[in-house]
């Protein structure tokens, strides 16, 4: 059976998390939802193998999604990290660039943009970590 890519979706707005879960499950992903950065960090630290993490920025605290991104980037191999926010500013975007976040998408999310970026980034990640097939 072909490997289902796995994605952790993190947003404190339940309707957004559920919508993204539905969208990505339809796209053939295995989706794990998390409704806070603390829950997401716990999942990441529990050794789940993930292909991608899509996280909101402002949850329990302003810019706390960057902490989710930092923990995700520390995994070996690191999953693709996408930040999804309506509150990008110079400070948080600069920090996202510095920590090698793979993609920054603005809310309201353009689903077509997000699904196509994620597909491309996961394919690139598989190519660079496993080499060409």
């Amino acid at each position: 059976m072909p490997h289902k890519p796995s994605v952790l979706v993190v947003d404190d707005e339940e309707n957004i998390t559920r919508t993204l879960q539905m969208v990505f499950e339809r796209e053939g992903y295995e989706v794990t939802p998390a409704y806070s950065s603390a829950e997401a960090v716990k999942i990441l630290e529990n050794g789940h193998t993930l292909d991608a993490v899509i996280t909101d920025l402002n949850m329990e605290q302003e810019d706390i999604g960057l902490e989710v991104a930092r923990v995700a980037r520390g995994l070996k191999p690191p999953p693709v990290v996408v930040i999804c926010t309506g509150f990008a500013n110079l400070k948080n975007s600069r920090r996202a660039l510095e920590m090698h976040v793979d993609y920054l998408v603005s809310k309201p999310v353009d689903i077509e943009e997000l699904t196509s970026a994620l597909r491309r980034l996961i394919a690139r990640r598989q190519y660079t970590t496993k080499g060409p097939r």
């Binding site: 990008a88 500013n89 110079l90 975007s93 600069r94 996202a96 660039l97 510095e98 920590m99 090698h100 976040v101 793979d102 993609y103 920054l104 603005s106 970026a117 690139r124 190519y127 660079t128």
Partner: protein, 140 residues
């Protein structure tokens, strides 16, 4: 017997820019540091160069023929050469510029007011530093 330093593997840089002053400023520092350069002053030449060479460094203007078209070149460089050090020279560093840099896998953004020698020197330090000491993607 005295130890001879290990030879540094030759590196190749692609410069995609329309300004001859910037090109020559970058080239002089790169050449002094053993980095060979290939220059493209338009999009087709840049894309052709990417198909014909293996680049370790990419320096791209955010504006080649029109505003923002340089971002696509940086994205292609990142896609084709995942380990290359890719920088973009942009007129300003606002949120949209940062977003474009993240989404195209750029390592660093440089303000176009910075001197080309200074930009090249920063790139040389980054690409010649051991991997563990390389700076992360930053805005200069």
């Amino acid at each position: 017997m005295a130890k001879t330093p290990a030879p540094i593997a030759a590196k190749l840089a692609l410069i995609v820019h329309g300004d001859m002053g910037i090109i020559s400023g970058l080239q002089s520092v790169f050449n002094q540091n053993g980095i060979t350069t290939i220059v493209a002053r338009d999009l087709p030449t840049a894309l052709l160069a990417i198909t014909q060479h293996y680049f370790d460094v990419g320096v791209v203007s955010s504006r080649i023929a029109e505003e923002g078209d340089g971002w696509s070149v940086s994205g292609v460089l990142r896609l084709v050469f995942p380990n290359a050090f890719v920088v973009v020279i942009a007129p300003e560093t606002d949120v949209l510029t940062l977003k474009a840099a993240i989404n195209n896998g750029v390592n660093e953004i440089f303000d176009k007011e910075r001197s080309p020698q200074e930009i090249a020197q920063t790139i040389v330090s980054s690409v010649t530093a051991p991997a563990s000491k390389r700076p992360s993607r930053t805005v200069q």
